[in-house]
Each structure stands twice: as C-alpha cells, then as structure tokens.
Amino acid sequence: MDKPLDLSFLLSGQYHDALVAGLVTTLELSGLVAVVALALGVLVAVMRLAPTAPLRWIAAAFIEVIRNTPLLVQLLFWYFGAPQLLPQRLLDWLYAGNFEFVAAFVGLALYTAAFVAEDIRSGIRAIPRTQMEAARACGMHFVQSMRLVILPQALRAMVPALTNQLLNLLKNSSLAMAIGVAELMYQTREIESYTFRSFESFAAATAIYLVLSILITIAAAGFERRSKPA
C-alpha cells in the first residue's frame, strides 16, 4: 500500500467499471427478484389461508422447507443440482445464456417469497374476519374477496415488513457470488485480489450497501406516509 487511503483507483478506470458493473448486476438481480417474490409471496400466503386443505398443506410445506434451510445451500442446489433434473434441450438453452444469473434468480425468488408470504399472512390476519365474512355474504368467492377486499387493506399495513424483506433481499443477493454471478460482492473480491487494496475495496462496497439500505428505508418511509388512509 503506497498511500494510506487512496480511493482514486475506484473512481475511474477498469476497477471503477468493474465495481459499477457489479452494482448494476446487484440492482438488476434484487429488482427482478423483488417483483417476482412479491407476486409469489401473495400467492403462497393466500394458498396458506385457502379453504381447501391440500392447498394449505402445500403452501405450509413450501414455507417451512425454504425458511429452515440456508439460502446458500439452496443456491448451490439450483446451480449444481437442478441441471441433473432438467431435460437436455432446456439445459442447452440455459447454458447458452447466463445460467448463473438464472439459478441465483430462481433461488433468491423462492427464498424471498417464503419470507414475504409469512409477512403477508400476518398482514391478512390483522384484517378483521368480519371483512371476509361480509365479502362472502355479498356473493364474492374466496379469490374475489381476497383480491378486492382483504389484500388492498392488508398490503398497506405491510409496508414496513416488506421493506425489511427488500433490505434482506439486497443483502442476500450477495450470496450469488458463490455461484459465480458477477454482482457487487463478487467484483469487490476480484478487485481486492487484483490490487491487494483490501481496505479501500471493502470500504467502497460497504459504503454502497449502506447507501442503498438508507435510500430504501427513506423511500419506504415516504411511501408509507403517502399511502396512509386519510
């Protein structure tokens, strides 16, 4: 280390580009997963409360299995294990593209969905039962009552919990480095091992994660204020 704290190599040139590329991949992965996991989480939460028992069992089993195994092991399963179970033609197509990214996406989406589903379930349970009974009495079936009456009320109350899951997702996406997705953490380690400037590389990544966390927290607080019913 020639100078004690020299960040210039991260502000321009190849290492800067690598860091930015990593940040973009982290944001792409987290953003895509957030959208899909929210939809999937709503689906699982509704299944968990459905009047049909087998649907409830499937949803409960999914949630318990996903939540009680490490995300990293799930990612390794999707990356190394799943190809063994897929047909060859699909595999050829996947390997031609960015298979690491797809495996990380699938693993993170399922993992996040299980946590989101539990938050949504408790949000739904906070809505008085009479709302559901009134909707059913008006002639709506279960899915209609959920979609038109329960979920619009429940989702608003769940903003803080869902924000927390988004923050977790941002942090969890760093595990994609283990299966070779070139996201922020992966690029940071690459830069560190090429330049031997551990402190500067880690400090930069730390600052980026913290700024993203703060931005998400601020945005969520603003959204919560605006969406509060008058």
Partner: protein
C-alpha cells in the same frame, strides 16, 4: 443416493476427525454454538448502549448496530479476514476468524431483539427497584435484564436458527463445515449433485425445524405465564 451416504456419512458428520481437523456437521454446530455464546454477552452490552441515557455511548453503539445490520454477512466475513489478523497481530485459523465474524454479526441482531425486550419491561418495575434503594446498575442487572431476557427467549432461539444457516457461508472462505464438505464430495463424485445438496438441505432442515418448533413451544409456554 444411499451409496453416497454410505461412503461419506462420517465425512459429512465430523470431517477427517479424529485423524485430521474437525469438520462437517460437527463443525457447523461448533461454529454456531461458540458464536452464539460470544454474541450473547455482546448483544446485551450493545442493547444497553442502545437504550443508554448517555449520548456519547448511545450514538456510536447505534451507528455500529445500524452499520452491521445494513451489510451482507459475507461483507462482514471479508472485513474479519482483513481486520482480525491485524487486530490480534498473529495469524489465526480460518474457523476462528469465522467465529469472530459470526459473533459480531449476530451480536448486532441480538442487540435489537434484547433492546425490544428491555423496552417491554414496564416502567413501574424500574421505579419500584429505585424506591427499594437499588442503584441504576443493580436495577438493570437484577430487575430489568432478567425479565427482558426471559421475554425474548423465543426470538433468541430463532436467531440461533439463522446463525446455524449462516454458518454455511463458511463455504465461501473454504472452511470445511457441512456445506463445504458436501461440495467436496460433489467435486469428487461429480454425477449426483442434486442428491448431495438435497441431503445437505434436509440435514439443515431437521436441525432448524426442530429449533423453530421448540421456539414456538417456548412462545406458547411463556404466553401462558402471563395469563
């Protein structure tokens, strides 16, 4: 599947122990328990700092807790690999560094759990302790903390579940715990990755689901006491 299990079960359980270093599931459990044992007092101290009336204590502690909670665990592990040798002045084995990283990370999360427990203790308890003549230190030690910690036992068990899952990140820095041992077997056998990683997932599931069920039981039992 059965063949892989028959040939490798001992390696998955204890690594090369007793001829070589401890590994596999046993190391996973050692990493999780030792880190928790270190993180618990750390978490209590950080929680006390978070609710302290002294600003010079509250602000830096809050900043530390916020920073650690805002970072991915793998970032904390990389920092530990960089800082621990500098701080200690000697090279330490990888699993020791990993324990430091896990303990620091978990302490920050425990701090918020314990803080919630402290804030849930009714003010009247503190006032009663003061009027009995206990000073601030003894009020905290003998009145507030015992109640606060009792209330958060289920959350502590849940945090231990997270910690057990988090030990799998040792795979990334090449420590031979369960996940890494499994990937070694996968590299050796090559054609059964789905079975191997499913087996590892089932192993974690049994431990974590057992603990989760235990924490639900504790939650019910503690709720009973309040009725």
């Amino acid at each position: 599947m059965l063949e892989i299990l028959r040939e490798n079960w001992l390696y998955l359980l204890v690594g090369r122990y007793p001829e070589g270093p401890l590994g596999g599931l046993a190391l996973t459990l050692v990493l999780a328990s030792v880190s928790l044992a270190l993180a618990l007092p750390g978490g209590v101290l950080l929680a006390l700092g978070r609710v302290s009336h002294r600003r010079w204590l509250r602000w830096p502690v809050s900043a530390f807790v916020f920073t650690v909670r805002g970072l991915p665990l793998i970032m904390v592990i990389f920092w530990a690999y960089f800082l621990v040798p500098i701080a200690l002045g000697v090279a330490v084995p990888g699993y020791v560094t990993m324990i430091y990283a896990l303990a620091f990370f978990t302490a920050a999360y425990l701090a918020e759990i314990i803080r919630a427990g402290i804030e849930a203790v009714p003010r009247g308890q503190i006032e009663a302790a003061h009027s009995l003549g206990l000073d601030r230190f003894h009020t905290t030690l003998r009145v507030v903390l015992p109640q606060a910690l009792r209330n958060v036992i289920p959350s502590l068990v849940n945090q231990f579940v997270s910690l057990t899952k988090d030990t799998s990140l040792a795979f990334i820095v090449g420590i031979n715990e369960l996940t890494y041992a499994a990937s070694q077997i996968n590299n050796r056998t090559l054609n059964h990755p789905a079975e191997i990683f499913a087996l590892v997932a089932v192993t974690y599931f049994l431990i974590c689901y057992g603990l989760t069920a235990y924490s639900r039981y504790l939650e019910r039992r503690l709720a009973w006491g309040h009725r």
